[in-house]
Assembly symmetry: D2
Homo-oligomer: 335 residues x 4
Amino acid sequence: MIELAVFGAGRMGQIHARNAALHPGLNLKFIADPIDSPARDALLAMTGATLATPEEIFADPAIAGVVVASSTDSHAELIRAAAEAGKAVFADKPISLDFAAVLEVAAAVEAAGVPSMLGFQRRYDAPFRALKQRIDSGASGRLETVLMQSRDPSPPPASYARSSGGFFRDSAIHDMDMARYLLEEPVARVWATGSCLVSEELGAIGDIDTGMIALTTVSGRIATLMNSRRGPMGYDQRLEAFCAAEVLSVGNQRLSPLAISAPDGETLQPPMNYFPARFAQAYADEMDAFARLIAEGTPPLATMADGLEAQRLVEAAIRSLETGLPVDFAPDWRP
Amino acid sequence: MIELAVFGAGRMGQIHARNAALHPGLNLKFIADPIDSPARDALLAMTGATLATPEEIFADPAIAGVVVASSTDSHAELIRAAAEAGKAVFADKPISLDFAAVLEVAAAVEAAGVPSMLGFQRRYDAPFRALKQRIDSGASGRLETVLMQSRDPSPPPASYARSSGGFFRDSAIHDMDMARYLLEEPVARVWATGSCLVSEELGAIGDIDTGMIALTTVSGRIATLMNSRRGPMGYDQRLEAFCAAEVLSVGNQRLSPLAISAPDGETLQPPMNYFPARFAQAYADEMDAFARLIAEGTPPLATMADGLEAQRLVEAAIRSLETGLPVDFAPDWRP
Amino acid sequence: MIELAVFGAGRMGQIHARNAALHPGLNLKFIADPIDSPARDALLAMTGATLATPEEIFADPAIAGVVVASSTDSHAELIRAAAEAGKAVFADKPISLDFAAVLEVAAAVEAAGVPSMLGFQRRYDAPFRALKQRIDSGASGRLETVLMQSRDPSPPPASYARSSGGFFRDSAIHDMDMARYLLEEPVARVWATGSCLVSEELGAIGDIDTGMIALTTVSGRIATLMNSRRGPMGYDQRLEAFCAAEVLSVGNQRLSPLAISAPDGETLQPPMNYFPARFAQAYADEMDAFARLIAEGTPPLATMADGLEAQRLVEAAIRSLETGLPVDFAPDWRP
Amino acid sequence: MIELAVFGAGRMGQIHARNAALHPGLNLKFIADPIDSPARDALLAMTGATLATPEEIFADPAIAGVVVASSTDSHAELIRAAAEAGKAVFADKPISLDFAAVLEVAAAVEAAGVPSMLGFQRRYDAPFRALKQRIDSGASGRLETVLMQSRDPSPPPASYARSSGGFFRDSAIHDMDMARYLLEEPVARVWATGSCLVSEELGAIGDIDTGMIALTTVSGRIATLMNSRRGPMGYDQRLEAFCAAEVLSVGNQRLSPLAISAPDGETLQPPMNYFPARFAQAYADEMDAFARLIAEGTPPLATMADGLEAQRLVEAAIRSLETGLPVDFAPDWRP
């Protein structure tokens, strides 16, 4: 039985701790979270884990791996410490909001040689995986353009927005990763535009809440991202891949198959509430991938390097937004 | 150019007269309708046809064929007279509400040897044709059960219901024909149940407005019909064919591809208003089939004999409804 | 913490044992299954429960309730014994294949006064619950007709069919329950027809695999059931409720929101594989209802009496199938 | 009866001539087309119109209006001549591929004071009209972003592409018009990217076949256009309008409501073949608008000025594509 620790008892920590506890090959030994809360206590009770400090966790030789699901500003330090302690690391995105720190951490993990993976759970989601496999099979022909749409149900408070690094850093990184994953080719140019149309509170702190990003690859293929802090229908998270022979799409997963027909039309259910529900199975499969990474060395679907590259694209989009000009995105581009 | 006459300037007469006038190989010479109305005048103006009496039409040697789309109680007499005058006949259903008259008319048409066809337009509708062709191709495997649902947007006035022969005679005949068309096998048993749930007015004249009919064929295959005078979503007209390898369905055709998504779900457009809109192309194709029947002798998709057989099944359903017992439906069963 | 035992480590036993183990208010102490199998061992390991005999379970005063998910022929005896031992009972359908035994067991449970519920999980399924609540709210108007379709992905072996009591007893009982649940009115007449169209093996033991049942209530409302051992698209389980003002439907839940568009059309994913996947949440909610029944006396959505009534309707359908005649279904009708 | 002439007997000329001939208030007197072809003869026969030269048409005082549906390079000259002859003009897009000529022609039409309208038929399409009306009603809240996707079934020959002015001029003008129509606000910035991914033949003449355009309005609202010469599913023409309270969409109109379900999923019909089928009703309504413009002076939904503005946006997109930089789109911007 592989022994694990989870950092963080917030929204993501709860998802990962629960999946670790349910996994037949994993034993969740510790949970670390500095804030005493009823949610933390409930999580400890449900999973049977023990509360511990990072120091205790890193010092315990029984611990084979750690899950970093704590607050964003603690990610970099915990990942580095885990790598130095020789623990396998499964970290949620982003590695850091400071790109220099991202580079350092990724280098440190590589230097330490510990198994590591990054929490781009969409790669583990069944329909996204099936879409990727279909393209890889050749049945769809060459992927020409891809459209990704991501809308949160409603804008977060300004406090969250500030600590998450702003709109693009918070919301576009998964789409950037998916664009890279599907296009499998260097991006040559990044263009972004954005505005504050939804939340005056976000505008007051200088953030945007509505954005569009276009990536052009070296061979001229195009990825378009539409992102918003507002989804009038709820959580709106879709992808369409336009290939030479087929169009593949992952639409929203509806809450349920109930429908109501009346004189003004047939009403289908709205999408599942938010990402924890929509990606429940993906998170469980991600934990299973972490177990197999530790046990058998099976490469994960997303690495620290993928995290770094996605973040580099986000930084380029931010640069384009700030300058009003497209960014020529050479492989050595740095923000 | 084939010269035609249309009997009737009501709802069906207008559809047929318009299609005849638009057909490149047909010339609509006459329209007959005893009732002086603005609709009749408009139809004459639009089509360029001349008003005539049945006698004038039957006596005109230039007339190759007639379309019987007049009031139901005049069908039998006009079909018989047309056959005797040697004209090709395209008659709307039903031949007559009196089954004895149906038998006589069908025999008279056959004896006269004139080309004839019956207005079961669903056989000409593109999705129904594609469904039939798919089954005939063998790709779907053996058809095992078929479900047909037909609901009018709202109940008719009692006056209409009375003159149309009651609910099953009015509404189930198309479904009976489609069941025969798809199953291609004798029916062995007919069971029907029905009630007056929608319109007190219809109940007051002894009619029903909600019904269910089950047909079992000699080899045990089953057709289920659900019919109602009320479609809360509008005109609800669907078929599902359950085959060994596939399920084929013809759903409702929505008014338009507009959709509205809001927090309580996504609302799609209701079905097209009613059969004239839903089957517009089918009626045009039916007229083309009449032209080809006259010009080249191409057999139509629905004959007088099909009309007789569908009506025989309707009469058996009425018998079952009245007696509360299933009807053993031998090939020589008569109401 | 409420202590429970589960009888049966087969397909249903695994679902219930797992849900009991995951429930925060329940402790799964025992699992009973006479057959030594790897699945039983895995279930014990996963849930942390101990293997026990029925005698040990009934004798343990700490056990507050038992879940009867063993083979069908053991249901009646275990339910009766549990009631006599004063344990709360949550039994899967059917109570027994022998209707006389059903009556006896239901009476015994009532006499013992123990809390009890029957496993009609569809009543706990979110879309079916929402449909029921919508009708109860009055927004839909009076329910007039209801259509239920249930098709298994493929026919079972003859051995299963024989032990499950035949096609209607095995497959129609959930639909009968749903008809009663939604119509809330006595059934006045039952008509059934059926054939063996799918599996020669089933025909060889005298069973059918394709059926249609019509229920007419005392006020003339109609429920239509279409059932088959074959679903070419997979597990096909749908309901449509035709009300005066709205049509409510619960369609199939697709495997995932992936779609593939090509020149011959857009292909959406097939339904979820089978009932354990489709009703996963419903089974968990059912277990929660059992916990609340024991802890707080909250009435369950389905009782032993509901099981008896659904089975009575099934027996009437079988009678109709055998006699070829409709069954007048008085409240005291007995097979 | 208003007398009309149609210039052009090609694809668009046939649509307009047929609609004019069917319109109860219009009489199609002349068709002009310099090329002797069977299609031209068939059109004359079907409509009953007479072949004429532009000079004859402009000189006939009975002609109240003309429809310019000839080859693109003749539009400007015919519109100007019609205006000078005092005829009402209904012209298909584009006015000219030369923007200077567009300005001149628009000025000439305005100076002549003749009634005029431009063939942006999407404004007349029922679902697009309903979407626009819904936004105008206020029910949807403020429109924030709009996504338009337009894909032809397959790339045209290079000869067509050359004479149509290149990809953006040919395919993006309808989307530009729809963006203006819905956003009702000046565009402040235009960004475009594009590539040749589909047709080597098009690349060889320096054209692109895949493009993405982003428009940002003065208040920061964003329109995204995705265009391609290839639609693997057929003609793919969709719009989504993301408003504060609702998302409105116009999807593709499927060929028919036939569906086929098999183990690998449910296949729905592909979109209608191409724009003549998809917009058949819109073209008829457009002709009716021309009739009402002439008869009653009812303003059309799209004017020459709308054509000029849409084309100005197209030219800005082409400029962005050529320079790799966004275009600051002041109201007086000229290519």
